[in-house]
Symmetry: D2
Subunit: 294 residues, 4 copies
């Protein structure tokens, strides 16, 4: 267990390899990019690991994770253990776990938070799986998680899927937090009375109720570009916000602020809004209000 | 009372003059546009009216209405009656009424709905004021309101300001109704499975739960431009939606759908969103997610 | 084709049988309730129909519709045609159609709007399926739909599933429309200046921009109970609103007003809000603000 | 300037007096509560201060702040300086400043964040006013603000009113942040798969994107009551959230998440929802859906 395999050495996986090694965990990493991989193939990675093997998968959620886990199900042996540390939807975990279980391979899902700062700060870890499997992996988790009390950067949240579930909700909350700061930013930018918007955010970093790590990052962004004039207001979404709202709907949980944050992202990517065309058309029809030609 | 003055002969006032005259009400109209006015000045209008004079003001809300009512307060006589039929904020009615009352001039406020269709269909009327004053004006109201039972197109809703209050809420509801159709339109437009979006709206006109006059207008708009491709999704707001949400806030009334409709209009008029710049900046800071350059 | 089978004779199906018969369509109806059924069993219903058989399924969406269509797939013959007129999720239509197609049985999905008023007013119909199948069914559709031009109460919206898709969006819009009137009602109820809330709604029925069938129903409700004091603010949702928002999310369509309407229903069914417990707890933690004991 | 007057020694003012004194600032405090006041009256407080006097007002916003500032305007002398550190609406600052300026008294407004933790952690300070006045007050501000770089806990945001404006937006953001955590909490509570909700929040404290001071407080609250079962989901609002949304509306700034947070508070205080009564009534009218009797 002091030697694990790691598939996927991108922005997240590459840093994690470094942090694990710094903590004395032996890591054999595989990536399709030959410049950063430790071994030339998944087969070579499997061959390099002691038994029972532990393989941490850290590749993009969806089809690629699917393909990697399917390959591991075919190539690993009974008693081995696969960890999915990507942003996989929790509903997929059941399918992956079942596929692996058919071959006697164990599965643990981990939600990993921290982004590009995790190498330095450590990663917040949310874990789902069997207690014994999680226990076995604690040295790895301890190496990845931040300094400080274990329970402040790590949770074994429940059975398989629970880790990704908690990470999904974490990301949903993240959408809401960012939207709150963003709405406040826009109002301050618009207010004639406020002469120092960046300074106001900066001054919120200590002592205030709204201080947070995201606020610190907002200050960093404003330090680089005080009115964000170089950035377009175009925001992607990676899926976790959508799943959070879908879960809310499935469980009849009101989620007005997080859903508003999700919809704001959708809007940010539209050149023109079909809905607003319809409203403009209606106003024109009943009131003769002028419309703009597209 | 079969002879009234009407100040403002634009899209609304001009049609109202026509509808009133068709009903046998004598109307002297004044407009700053010499091509459509009946008399050359407000003074001439006042001189033309029998005593006690009734003057219906139908000019843009805000500064222009203020100026006209201030002029009438100076020039009319005790016992005369001013009607404000514009989209004045109800809070202004108290001020206008007080200004007129100092000179013994009576005041009634009327919310008028129906847009450019009112000439043909009649206008929905929401009235605030003293019972006796409203009674005196019933022939005028009956001429303007739609055919059918009086109470289905007319209400004396309460004291001064109540007419504009009810009209304000009417318009807030209108925002929500339009937004609901618009969101549905956008989803249908996006759905590959649906081959006839305009036909779907058309088919909702009879028998369905969502049938309405606005739906009929939506069909008219789609008849002219089946995918609204010639219209830009840019929507103004005239103030009544804002006041409705402000009143909701003042009264601690949750108003999630109507406020969402208002905010959607604000968004429709933004070239780029400062808030979404902030979210993009934050995602870039923590996750290294790429941003678009403005 | 002038003789069809109808399974499910509840609030919707029973009225539809009556309307079809009034239009000269022969209907053999089956319901598990022996007091209203025409035949004792599905087998008897199948035996009673001429070939190729047309069977309209009008039972609750979900498990019951599934069971009925599964039974029909087993018992009908090649060339027969099944219509699902319930509020089935469009994604289920593909599965049902495939199951029937294996046996050479045709499938058409129909969204039916109009509620308990359909018997009298006719039903708005949104249809998905093959053109030839839809053509064959036009006498049935013409009997069910409202008087007036066919296209104002009927649409063949696209391939299988399109009928239920359009009905789903129709219901999503319906949520938004109702919420808009409801928010306006609450604000008027709260406004001291407005003395006649029910009268205001009544006065909106003619000439105004917000006039609609739902508004007429609101007036009916207020006629029965002017301040709705006898009704609890508890609102179920049958699924179509949820699916609409899920589809919006899947298609990156902003849907702030309709989603707000859905969440308002969720909230209406909560005795206490876990989310608001959390907000109260937070305020207590940072500000010492008092909290209410549960 | 090393001796200031402080009016209002409640939860905030009392702690501020203590923190100021600990930093070597002499403070004469007045409170209507004889047990905590330093002097028996405002007159005594004024008499005790060196000239030019500096008086910090820290009383509830609204009528009480109005009364205190009015009294100070009457009793202070030319060249004295009044600071309003309460949660006064920025629009009031102009009025207060004008009232004081008539007597040659200076005015500075300060938004103070930090709640009951400010004594220990220091207070985040957002200041509006003339540069020279702010400079003069820097020893006081430095004593109150948190340890660390001045600009991370203090901002001179602009002219009079700017301090309260920035504090208002700070509180609006605070509403959104709390609502985001709260919605996530509710979903986790509802999720069967998640066995340790409190542990999940605890694990977010380090390394994650959502870490913040509010999150730390959420953990404290869950430590005391793991499912918040002892707290009612009833949340007051003190005005700043309302003003933030009103300012957004006045400036055409979309504010969907913060407004949703505000409306959620309104809902939390309703025994029953008039709006949802209306929706229930409508569903009953068109669909015969059952309603609950109030």
């Amino acid at each position: 267990m002091t030697h694990i395999g790691l598939i996927g050495l991108g922005r997240m996986g590459g840093n994690m390899r470094e942090r694990l090694r710094a903590a004395g965990i032996e890591v054999t990493g595989y990536d399709h990019n030959p410049e950063i991989t430790d071994v030339p193939s998944v087969d070579a990675l499997i061959a390099a690991l002691p038994s029972p093997r532990v393989v941490w998968v850290m590749v993009p959620a969806g089809a690629i994770t699917d393909a990697v886990i399917t390959e591991l199900a075919a190539k690993l042996s009974e008693g081995d253990l696969v960890i999915d540390g990507g942003n996989t939807r929790f509903t997929e975990d059941d399918r992956h776990a079942a596929m692996l279980a058919e071959r006697g391979i164990r599965f643990v899902d981990v939600g990993v938070s921290g982004g590009i700062w995790g190498l330095e700060n450590g990663y917040g870890l949310m874990v789902g799986g069997e207690r014994a499997d999680v226990e076995e992996l604690m040295p790895v988790f301890d190496a990845l998680r931040p300094e400080g009390p274990r329970e402040e950067g790590f949770v074994h949240a429940g059975p398989i899927g629970a880790g990704h579930y908690v990470k999904m909700v974490h990301n949903g909350i993240e959408y809401g937090l960012m939207q709150a700061y963003a709405e406040g930013f826009e109002l301050l930018e618009r207010a004639e009375r406020v002469h120092d918007v960046a300074g106001s955010f900066r001054a919120w970093q200590r002592g205030t109720v709204v201080r947070s790590w995201l606020l610190d990052l907002m200050v960093r962004a404003l330090d680089e570009d005080a009115d964000l004039s170089e950035i377009e207001g175009y925001v992607d979404d990676s899926g976790e916000g959508r799943w959070t709202v879908e879960e809310a709907i499935a469980n009849a949980v009101p989620m007005p602020a997080i859903s508003a944050s999700l919809f704001a992202r959708f809007e940010s990517r539209q050149d023109d809004s079909p809905a607003m065309k319809a409203v403009a058309a209606l106003r024109n029809q009943f009131g003769g209000h002028s419309i703009k030609k597209a």
